[in-house]
């Protein structure tokens, strides 16, 4: 073997850019978060301005925190560590530049469109379709740049951090593309390809795994690089890395339905969601253990080094929230916690504690090295830590208390057991007002802490100058590599793939297949254990080979993450058709109701109102009959919601309240519901409904399979106008000047349509076998 050496220069400019971008967007995202937290307490902070209302700013907060703050932080960490772990400069400077500027442009586009009310109406997937395409394209640029770097690397073996980056890149691409499939009706509006329960499943498959593969796996990779670096200690256990990596990426994907527990979602899917969430506990804790136990022998640094402080706390918060997650996924717990602040608290112990603190630790470690200087102030960094820490505890504690209290109040029955104890939703909201304020305080403290980081980083950068790091490396000449076929058809992978195949057959199979497959799962498990004991060396060598072979590794990782989603989503795509719905079928929207629905989506009503009455007694007593799958089958996108800051609206229509009530309520919610914290929507009373856009919208929905009767362009517009006039006449006694073509009329038409269904005629052809 002839060894040639070469000197490489790392591309740290890209890392510097992403670092600064992350910190900048972090401030914006957190500022938005704190602002909307105060809006919940002081409705006047909505200022009666469309682009400052909670419903539009909350998506801005979540998107900024996830994609701008954590996204840029992740890219900084990945670009820095991948080059060093591969002993090679990032493959293409041009692609790095396109990646950086493309991503920033996307964020700016998001920050402009979301306050304008341009949205797809799905959580963490709100951005409109042209931006979706840009995100997918830039992600592919990132992927090419990353895998090209792996291909060029001078380091034969892939370190565990790289495994996590690989899983991140392929899974996020898969999730993002599938959940953003839509048909445009204009340049700024589209309808989701999936509707009703399918859309709900796809959404939470995406939503849950955005947490998994955007907020967790890349940060675990970053932990595996930066934490041992900062601590100067070896990683605790390689085999724990192997076991927890593969179990984590395989199991995570299945857990999405735990966002839809006790709803109309078929029970088997709920059980998968709950069961896999419980099984996810150990793999998640594997990451926490490997992080915390790596610090063994470096605990003295906890006192002196703010970087270690942030990492230790960040990993601990990771452990806390990944314990809480499975707990909340238990149906009986979810009965209480769903739609409540508890969920919000859970998410923030992950984002503020894990993401925020890992980011801070990484920045404090990285910035002095990137600018060839020392951290400006350890004292300030410590102050940031304690402010942030107390902020999180206040935030999370308040949300626990608030979620449990409001959940108990909402579910409480009176002494007769035949009615809810607090019939007015507002009463339960008033019950948690003080706690909501504590949350806002906690968030404010956390924001102040982060601003101190900004000052500290600023001063650090000012004291140094951009560093250029060069290193002499041995050029890696790949020996004869095994092919993908050889790697995949080896005993260990065949055993694991067979196991997974029979698990799927067991879960999905008919009355005989399931037992046979279950037996096969047992047989393969025992055989695998026996073979592993006998041929340990062989299995270990295989894995060592695998981690030298990024194509095979990526292929197997892709299979692992693809299975869970396929099992859950594909059956509903075929089953969830109108002709298969037995009990209730949603009534088609009229054109005006459809226009109203788009206004509902655009204003972000789903951020505070659900449209899903769960199959639990308190929900039924409070809101009416539990929701059926058929009742949202034509909804593109679905609007089941995930949080009830206000009451459920699934059966709000059909004159449950008079139209004039809705009219008053949208103008000033506190007239009709004293104590409400809902924003007022005065602009809906002036702005005109976009009737002209309706024909294209109806046509698009017909293409998606919604059976609207054939109507000409004029008929559609005429129908909408007539219905508007009808509602306006009803409202004459409330406001003689109401205009039939204003948005409020369309919105009322939609609200009054909620909960309308018909019972399909069971055709006699649905025969016995």
């Amino acid at each position: 073997m002839n060894e040639t050496k070469t000197t490489i220069t790392y591309d740290d400019r890209t890392v510097r850019w992403f670092t600064i971008a992350s910190i900048f967007w972090g401030v914006i995202g957190m500022l938005a978060g704190v602002f909307i937290a105060y809006q919940l307490n002081y409705w006047k902070l909505n200022f009666d301005l469309p682009w400052l209302t909670f419903g539009r700013l909350r998506p801005l907060h979540t998107n900024a925190a996830i994609f701008a703050f954590v996204g840029n932080m992740m890219f900084a960490g990945i670009y820095y560590s991948t080059q060093r772990l591969c002993k090679c400069r990032t493959a293409s400077d041009l692609l790095s530049k396109v990646h950086f500027w493309g991503w920033q442009l996307i964020i700016v586009a998001a920050a402009v469109t979301l306050p304008l009310g341009l949205t797809r109406g799905k959580e963490y997937a709100e951005l409109i379709w042209p931006i979706n395409i840009a995100v997918a394209a830039i992600w592919v640029v990132f992927a090419i740049n990353f895998f090209w770097t792996l291909a060029k690397r001078n380091e034969p073996s892939l370190y565990v951090a790289i495994w996590f980056y690989i899983a991140t890149i392929i899974t996020v691409a898969m999730l993002y593309i599938v959940n953003h499939l839509s048909l445009p009706t204009s340049w700024t509006h589209s309808y989701t390809l999936f509707g009703g329960v399918q859309d709900a499943l796809v959404q939470w498959w995406y939503g849950h795994n955005a947490v998994a593969f955007f907020l967790t796996t890349p940060i675990l990779g970053i932990m595996y690089y930066f934490l041992p670096k900062a601590a100067g200690r070896p990683v605790y256990s390689y085999r724990l890395s192997v076991v927890h990596f593969w179990s984590l990426v395989f199991i995570y994907i299945w857990a999405g339905p735990h966002h839809l527990l006790n709803t109309a979602l078929p029970h088997w899917l709920q059980t998968l969601g709950m069961g896999f969430s419980l099984m996810l506990w150990a793999p998640s804790w594997g990451g926490m253990l490997n992080g915390l136990l790596t610090l063994r022998g470096a605990w003295n640094k906890l006192v002196t080094d703010p970087v270690i402080k942030f990492f230790a706390a960040g990993v601990t918060f990771y452990g806390m929230s990944t314990f809480e997650g499975p707990l909340l996924s238990i149906r009986a717990v979810n009965y209480l916690s769903h739609y409540s602040d508890w969920t919000i608290g859970h998410v923030h112990s992950g984002t503020l504690g894990w993401n925020g603190f890992m980011a801070a630790g990484m920045f404090y470690w990285l910035v002095p090295r990137l600018w060839n200087t020392k951290l400006a102030s350890v004292k300030l960094a410590n102050l940031h830590f304690w402010l942030g820490f107390v902020g999180i505890l206040l935030y999370v504690g308040a949300m626990w208390a608030s979620g449990i209290r409001q959940g108990l109040m909402l579910n409480a029955l009176d002494d007769t057991g035949t009615a809810v104890r607090y019939p007015e939703f507002v009463e339960t909201l008033t019950g948690v007002r003080a706690l909501m304020l504590f949350r806002a305080f906690g968030g404010t403290l956390y924001l102040i802490g982060f601003l101190i980081l900004v000052v500290n980083v600023w001063k650090t950068i000012a004291s140094g100058s951009p560093a250029t790091v060069t290193q002499e490396v041995v050029v890696h000449q790949p020996a004869k590599r095994s092919t993908v076929g050889e790697m995949v058809f080896a005993e260990p992978s065949v055993a694991m793939l067979g196991l997974v195949l029979f698990v799927c057959l067991w879960l999905m199979g008919g009355p005989v297949t399931d037992w046979v497959s279950f037996a096969m799962v047992g047989v393969i498990s025992v055989m695998s254990i026996v073979r592993f004991q006998q041929h340990k060396e062989h299995w270990i060598t295989w894995y060592d080979h695998l981690s030298e072979h990024w194509v095979s590794f990526t292929f197997l990782a892709l299979i692992s993450v693809a299975i869970g989603g396929a099992i859950q989503i594909i059956p509903t795509v075929t089953v969830n058709r109108a002709e298969n719905i037995e009990d209730r079928l949603q009534k088609l929207y009229t054109p005006l109701e459809l226009a109203g629905r788009d206004i509902y989506v655009s204003e972000g009503c789903y951020n505070c109102h659900s449209q899903m009455i769960r199959m639990i007694l308190p929900d039924v007593l409070r809101y009416g009959d539990y929701s059926r799958l058929g009742e949202s089958i034509y909804d593109h996108p679905f609007q089941w919601g995930s949080k009830r800051t206000g009451p459920d609206l699934a059966r709000e229509g059909n004159n449950r309240r008079p139209s004039s009530w809705h009219y008053q309520h949208m103008l000033d919610p506190r007239v009709t519901s004293p104590g409400s914290n809902m924003p007022a929507y005065p602009w809906l009373f002036d702005q005109k409904t976009d009737i002209k856009a309706l024909p294209a919208k109806v046509r698009t929905l017909v293409n998606l399979g919604v059976p609207f009767p054939t109507m000409t362009r004029d008929e559609i517009e005429q129908h909408a106008l007539e219905q508007g006039v009808k509602i306006a006449t009803e409202l004459k006694s409330t406001d003689p000047n109401v205009q039939p073509d204003t948005k409020i009329i369309a919105l009322i038409a939609y609200l009054q349509s909620l909960g309308s269904y018909e019972t399909p005629k069971t055709t006699a052809s649905a025969t016995a076998p």
């Binding site: 390689y238 085999r239 059980t271 793999p283 019939p423 399931d514 004159n655 139209s659």
Partner: protein, 194 residues
């Protein structure tokens, strides 16, 4: 790797990545147990629910409960409440006070603080409860029924451009509806004895 390290000194992996070393410690037993227990729980849970199907579905569990509550409410209404008992409740200060509290939360937004509805201020959209006109019957049980079930045939009313009264029974339950009815009636004791 072929033999378990008997001593407690952890073994370092031979390869070093950019200065990062790795131990290869055994997996903690308690950690493995949490994984195994979760897997066993899932398998048993799945088999009970979807292979033996011995656990009733959510609908099978919930539907009878809801049906029974509906029945109970009807029975309670007919047994407990007739014109005489309701009339008596309207003289019970405690019940009337309770009814007033509920009225202020639930009914006031439409019927106004003085029960005048439309006649009180243009802001209010409900019918007047203060005058002597009772569109759907003046007996105490009629009023109870009106609050409990809302306007009869609301769709027809809406079509005529009138505003139907929403049913409060499903939300409030019979007891609270009776208190509200008692509160309303308490203002009509002198004017219009039943």
């Amino acid at each position: 790797m072929s033999k378990k390290p008997e001593d407690h000194k952890p073994e370092l992996r031979p390869h070093v990545f950019d200065g990062i070393e790795e131990y290869d410690q055994k997996l903690p037993n308690w950690w493995l147990f949490t994984l195994y227990i979760a897997i066993v729980f899932f398998v048993v849970h799945w088999i009970i629910h979807f292979q033996f199907r011995v656990v009733p579905s959510d609908a099978q569990r919930l539907d009878p409960v809801v049906a029974k509550i509906r029945d109970d409410r009807m029975k309670a209404m007919t047994a407990m409440l007739n014109d005489t008992t309701l009339g008596k409740l309207a003289t019970d200060q405690a019940v009337v006070a309770e009814g007033q509290k509920i009225y202020q939360q639930t009914c006031l937004p439409c019927h106004g603080p003085n029960r005048g509805g439309k006649t009180e201020a243009p802001l209010y959209i409900g019918a007047s409860l203060a005058d002597a006109e009772w569109r759907y019957g003046a007996k105490p049980t009629d009023i109870y029924k009106m609050i409990f079930d809302g306007s009869p045939s609301p769709a027809d009313l809406a079509a005529k451009g009138e505003i139907p009264m929403p049913a409060q029974g499903p939300v409030l339950g019979p007891e609270k509806v009776a208190s509200v009815a008692a509160f309303i009636l308490s203002h009509h004791l002198q004017a219009k004895p039943q």
